[in-house]
Symmetry: C2
């Protein structure tokens, strides 16, 4: 088993990475837990429910299942309230433990429910998508969407552990593998140039889910994310670099309607746009813009952004959480492996839109 430790003011916790980990989930439940709330969706439960129920059953603790509707469009207060209803109807108390078993949507909602239920109960992340395994399950960010913006309502609430079973990725649609790989590439871009190069060399093996290559990508991504989060749990500084490509990406997701593009796809495309903007403003080498574009393409993500209309682009980016005092804030790269946060005047974006937005998209 591979172990990565996360250290934050909000708590220290382990990430366990192991093929077959689902069958050993009982070992992750604290002895003093009064009950377990298993929060998941029908797709995940149909495939892995029995294995997980069997493992959790070995704890002898009461198990309450909450089955949420699937997809980003359901990351709403209504879904969140389904969790609260179920937990309260079963009179789960403050010593209950919530297990968020699914992709990023389940992790975000399960985590936020755990953050708010009785002002906070413990929870465990069991991510079943590549994107959740390498990104959203680590670091304690939880949230739901608001009609006016993605992840606008949420909390920083650290899990007590993250349990990753890479074997579950075998049943994931190829599009979701590609979307997850975008976040893997992101770590290389913002903080680890050799890892970016490793991704360039292994793009094919990653898409083919070659086990050792995949496990290393997950481990390295978790290590890099843990490193950043350890230094800045609440995104007051360094952590913001994890948002490379996200200002563009969120605009794409909001502009097309949540769920049209996968989050990772939008971020992948957004990283190409951020590279272009970095070239214009920070002297990021043009040749490296092409390396970014090629790698995003190689992992199977779109590199041509949708035509939302210039003003709508800017407005959607302006509603993003990372706005400060009205100016647009971007994560940009001086070079591969290094990232900075910069305020950008909207006028500077026009050239980027020209080079990255496809009229027919």
């Amino acid at each position: 088993m591979t172990l990565v430790n996360v250290t934050t003011p909000g708590g220290n916790y382990p990430i366990h990475i192991q093929s077959g980990r689902l069958g050993a989930l009982d070992t992750a439940i604290p002895a003093d837990a009064t009950a377990i709330a298993l929060v998941s969706n029908a797709t995940v439960l149909a495939r892995y429910g029995q294995r997980v129920r069997q493992a959790l059953g070995r704890t002898g603790k009461p198990l309450v299942e909450v089955v949420l509707p699937d997809g980003e469009a359901h990351k709403t207060w209504q879904s969140l309230n389904m969790i609260f209803d179920e937990l309260l109807q079963n009179t789960l108390d403050r010593k209950a433990v919530l297990v968020a078993f699914g992709g990023g949507v389940i992790g975000d909602m399960g985590g936020f429910a755990a953050a708010c239920y009785m002002r906070g109960i413990r929870f465990i992340q069991v991510p079943t998508t590549l994107l959740a395994q390498v990104d959203s399950s680590v670091g304690g960010k939880t949230a739901i969407n608001h009609p006016l913006g993605k992840n606008m309502i949420g909390a920083f609430h650290q899990p007590i552990s993250v349990e990753i079973d890479p074997a579950v990725l075998a049943t994931l649609p190829p599009r979701e593998i590609s979307a997850g790989l975008a976040e893997v590439v992101k770590y290389g871009l913002i903080i680890d140039a050799p890892f970016f190069e490793w991704c360039e060399r292994n793009a094919g093996a990653l898409r083919a889910l070659e086990p050792q290559v995949l496990t290393y990508a997950i481990q390295r991504s978790c290590e890099l994310k843990a490193h950043v989060v350890s230094q800045d749990e609440r995104e007051s500084g360094l952590r913001a670099i994890l948002n490379l490509g996200h200002t563009f990406g969120h605009a794409i997701e909001a502009g097309l309607g949540y769920g049209a593009w996968l989050h990772g796809e939008a971020v992948g495309c957004g990283m190409v746009q951020a590279a272009e903007l970095s070239a214009d403003l920070l002297g990021f080498p043009r040749a490296d813009v092409e390396r970014v574009r090629s790698l995003i393409e190689a992992i199977g993500c779109p590199t041509v952004a949708p035509d939302l209309g210039r003003d709508r682009w800017v407005r959607l980016m302006g509603n993003d959480k990372k706005v400060q005092g009205g100016s647009l804030r971007f994560v940009l790269m001086p070079r591969i492996g290094e990232a900075v946060c910069t305020d950008v005047d909207a006028a500077a974006l026009d050239a980027v839109f020209q080079r990255t937005v496809g009229a027919g998209v």
Copy 2:
């Protein structure tokens, strides 16, 4: 001006107590705030809105007003969402500051909105009821109600300051003064016997809002609450003693429907019930039960509990947050000025119901 400091892992902050403090609220707004969200209700704004707007206006910062419906019955997700809608429509960012200006309901909802908006923004408590001034505005507990229980969904989120203007209490209905005094008496009962005796001597002056007596009661209550909260921000131990009377009280509130009794009234009555239970189980002197009953009566709170039906009483108390693993948990007193948390078998409650529940209530 009287200053009380609160020290918690979640942040240190001052409580300022001063007659006329409303007119100086601008001094509480941090220089780097990008905007101010004033969250209040129509009653409070009609009376003090102009004075507060004028004070906050001196900061030169954009001011967004959110007017919420009044009363415990509106401490819901729907009201909370009105805050989110307004803040997002006005594109308030993470550096905005929320000012919760009103009673406990406004403080709880404003605080919870600040805890969740973009995963947490700063907020200031400006409590306008006695109960909020001596209790709910201090300590960082925020929440909304759920149909299945009071304050079930919430967060620990400390304000950056608490601004108390005792002069506003002059316009408060006498019932609300009485309800607030119940929490004042509570501090004496759980942690400060001399203060309990001081309350006995000054019950009349307190109800008459004698300025110096009232200000001392607020100051001492804030000091005692700050003392408890400093040692146990998240209610893992000591802080639970602040819930004296609350298990009974919450059942009264839920059983009659939120708003029928004021929170402080329910807690006042609940403290008489807790004293009775303490006499049965911990040898709390019977004569002191009568002192508690007399003082609760003297401050104008009910001392006879409503007849919810025995099973309903127990069920409603069982749904209270303080339940652990199925057993009923109460704050009880071995003597005045000392409190402990104890698991109690439901059978032990019957005698208390007989002595405290009025058939005709």
